[in-house]
């Protein structure tokens, strides 16, 4: 109990001090108003955008896009990576390709996508899904290839069929890498999403803060930034971690 009190009180102090310093700085620094709005301005921006219903829309659009990409990554990327990884031949072939295309972020493809699809939803989705998919496929492939052969051999001596080995050994064995790939893919993807929304428009948090800059609505920018950071932490806490808890953490195989 004493520990909790210590933590909360420390946090309380930090929060109060930060807000106080911030407000003081905002009030006294010799810079234009729009440079450093006080915390109160950020709060009123929040209230305003909620009242107008704009904030839920911004957040909703961004979340929708990233969750779609997550679904694609999980249900298409993981199986694809596993399939490619199972056979030595395909794995060796796919590895350099995946490595290369993974390093070229979806954002780099955005200008090409603008030519193909114009300034719209599809461009954003292609860029973000690409960004999420490649690390997932790549790491799933790596995961399968890095399952210690002894597990495969053990199952062969029990008379398992190829399919059984895939199901009982290769897939679970690849999970730590898959988890890492999903985490990485989503981390890159979330950032690519914000960038894409800045460039393409079409709603979303990236658009929100980019647009706000054009009108010097710095409080809105800060609000957006705070939400962007908080949402990633939420994604981590409510999506990624539970997935890891249920599987690799339970098996003692975490390699965060």
């Amino acid at each position: 109990m004493g520990r909790y009190w210590e933590i909360t009180s420390t946090w309380g102090v930090i929060l109060t001090v930060s807000i106080a310093t911030w407000s003081l700085a905002a009030a006294t620094l010799p810079v234009p108003d729009y440079f450093l709005p006080p915390p109160s301005a950020v709060l009123s921006a929040f209230v305003e955008l909620m009242a107008k219903g704009m904030l839920p829309t911004f957040v909703g659009e961004s979340l929708r896009r990233i969750l779609l990409a997550a679904l694609l990554g999980l249900f298409v990327g993981v199986p694809l990576g596993l399939l490619l990884g199972i056979s030595r031949g395909t794995a060796d072939f796919a590895y350099p390709v995946l490595n290369f295309f993974q390093s070229v972020s979806g954002i780099a493809w955005l200008p090409l996508m603008l030519i193909w699809f114009g300034f719209g939803e599809r461009t954003i989705l292609v860029a973000v899904n690409y960004t999420v998919l490649f690390p997932v496929i790549f790491n799933a492939l790596l995961g399968v290839r890095s399952v210690p052969p002894i597990y495969v051999n053990a199952l062969r001596t029990l008379g398992a069929s190829r399919w059984r080995i895939v199901r009982d050994v290769l897939v679970p064995g690849a999970l730590p890498n898959i988890a890492m790939g999903v985490r990485l893919g989503l981390a890159y993807g979330w950032r690519a999403l914000i960038a894409a929304e800045m460039l393409v428009g079409a709603n979303g948090l990236g658009f929100m803060i980019f647009n706000a800059q054009a009108f010097h609505l710095t409080a809105r920018i800060m609000l957006g930034m705070g939400i962007i950071g908080a949402l990633w932490l939420a994604l981590d806490y409510f999506l990624l971690r539970p997935l890891e808890e249920a599987t690799i953490a339970r098996w003692g195989m975490v390699q965060r």
Binding site: A154, L155, R156, T157, L158, G159, P172, W251, M253
Partner: protein, 261 residues
């Protein structure tokens, strides 16, 4: 009566990928293992013990010779030859009971029967109460018990054990040896057990097969005429038959080690 396992003129060669030399791991091994026999195989490092086991298990192809189980050629791996590996090859993502059940699952044994068999073997290896634990929660000795239980539960014709106790501490090792002894007595399984510990080989084996240094051949077969019921460490610590056999095997192995050095 045909032997359970018949090995004739077994040879295994391969090309070392780094030095491009041809390596002869086994050069004409002749060996017969009787039904219900506990045969230990011992020899200097690199003599091909593990190669021999892997060929028997069907995990490695032979270059020449014949390997027969119950008179039939051995081709790939299969549940008729159960293997207990040196490294813990139980699945980290399965509980103790699911690991033990794995072979039965593969053989499509119906659920109730499976559960009963698993329960029996959990008791046999003394892991009662740990059924729901994951391997990372177990000690090394316990993991090996799971490995042994898994292999036994699948009811193989023979059990091949590749230095299964090498990676556990010596106290646990002694316990496991005595437990394995009890299991061998109870199940009467044909067991081929690889080790580089002469003591272990003589403690466990009905016969000790000493392999020569590379290229591996059967140097000698030393019978250990001690009834299985008497094989407990306390009893054998001052048993002259045990000491004599140990000395003999030790001498033979040292000869081979001396040749290499």
């Amino acid at each position: 009566m045909t032997a359970k396992i018949t090995i004739r003129g077994l040879g295994h060669e391969y090309v070392n990928p780094f030095t491009r030399e041809r390596v002869v791991a086994l050069d004409g091994v002749d060996l017969e293992v009787e039904e219900g026999e506990f045969l230990t195989v011992v020899g200097p490092s690199g003599c091909g013990k593990t190669t021999l086991l892997n060929i028997l298990a069907g995990l490695l192809p032979k270059t020449r010779g014949t390997v027969l189980l119950n008179g039939r050629e051995v081709t790939g791996p299969g549940p008729d030859r159960g293997v207990v590996f040196q490294e813990f090859a139980i699945m980290p993502w399965r509980t103790v009971e699911k690991n033990i059940a794995h072979g039965l699952e593969i053989q499509s044994v119906p659920r109730e029967e499976r559960a009963a068999i698993v329960r029996r073997f959990v008791e046999l290896v003394g892991l009662g109460g740990f059924e729901r634990k994951y391997p990372h929660e177990l000690s090394g000795g316990m993991k090996q018990r799971v490995a042994v239980a898994r292999t036994l539960a699948a009811n193989p014709e023979v059990m091949l054990m590749d230095e299964p106790f090498a990676a556990v501490d010596s106290q646990t090792r002694i316990t496991l040896q005595e437990e394995l002894n009890a299991i061998a007595q109870a199940t009467r399984k044909t067991i081929l057990f690889i080790t580089h510990s002469v003591e272990e080989a003589v403690f466990l084996g009905d016969r000790c097969c000493v392999l020569s240094g590379r290229p591996g051949r059967v140097k000698a077969l030393v019978p250990v005429r001690i009834p299985r019921e008497r094989r407990g460490w306390k009893l054998l610590m001052s048993d002259p038959t045990f000491d004599a056999a140990k000395e003999k095997v030790f001498g033979l192995v040292r000869e081979e080690v001396g040749k290499e050095v």
